[in-house]
Amino acid sequence: MRYTTFLSLISVSLMIISLVVIGYPIYTFIEDAENGKFDISLRDIRIIKLENNSILLNITVYGINNGGVRITDIGVSIIYNYTTLTNDTYEGSLNVYVGDISPGDVVKKNVSVYIKGIPKELYAKITVRMNISGYLPFKMTFETPILKSGA
């Protein structure tokens, strides 16, 4: 075997190994997210009515990792918009830093949102930014209703 052929084989093998090292955590994470093993959700939503025709929403941001990959630097950005009983529309945003979640860990962060007026509908667009295994940036976006009319 020529030495250039040998070096090419070594280069190709190392390239494939590196691609597997980089790609496998993403593959595992997406599998975990699809099976619900990794979950970032807004739970324990409590509405406190204030005196000046406004409410305070107490929300707990849950981060659950029952998957096989460590997720670091999780930042949750919530953009919410709501329509009040007087048909006024408002929009606001808040950022929550969840931090790192190792496999088997649960992280809870409490946040409070001041809502001007009494909303009849409140929708949130949630963007979760994180690093898979500490070095692969990943972003997830989804929309969810927090308060629905008639609820």
């Binding site: 280069s11 597997v20 790609g23 619900g36 989804f142």
Partner: protein
């Protein structure tokens, strides 16, 4: 050596045909090793990675062309240029595949559609390192070694 050169002079058609055949084998092996198998590994792990067919076919033709030039010339300085061009082709193919290094997709979980963006620009580092820098360095080292040997002789 002289006999071989005479034979080559006598039948240039056979020489070119042999060079075409060998460069075809070379380009198939290099294409499989540096482009197709790494792409298949990557796409099996990360879904929604596009496969621009024209870039892949063009890449194969470019591989064949540079290996043919390499076979015909077989000069060491040309080998360095060939290694550089090979690296550029590999890089161009993967840049076309990765399209900025962001892979997008959708997950459905309990009726909620989750749109995701995975930043996989990191894969470009091993591609640049093992598809471009390592072959280039080895050919430069080979060239320097051959020059030293010539001077010693």
């Amino acid at each position: 050596m002289t006999i071989k050169a005479d034979n080559e002079l006598k039948s240039p058609f056979r020489y070119v045909l042999k060079a075409i055949l060998l460069s075809l084998i070379d380009s198939v092996i290099a294409y499989l090793g540096f482009v197709y198998i790494p792409y298949m590994v990557l796409s099996s792990l990360i879904s929604n990675i596009p496969m621009p067919h024209s870039v892949f076919y063009g890449g194969f033709i470019a591989f064949f062309f540079i290996y043919f030039v390499d076979r015909v010339s077989s000069q060491t300085p040309m080998r360095i240029l060939i290694s550089m061009l090979q690296g550029v082709i590999i890089l161009y193919i993967f840049l076309s595949v990765l399209r900025g290094g962001i892979v997008t997709g959708e997950i459905e979980y309990h009726g909620t559609r989750i749109y995701y963006e995975a930043d996989i620009r990191l894969v470009l580092y091993p591609i640049v390192a093992f598809g471009f820098i390592v072959p280039l360095l080895t050919s430069i080292v080979g060239f320097i070694e051959s020059r030293i040997k010539k001077e010693e002789m």
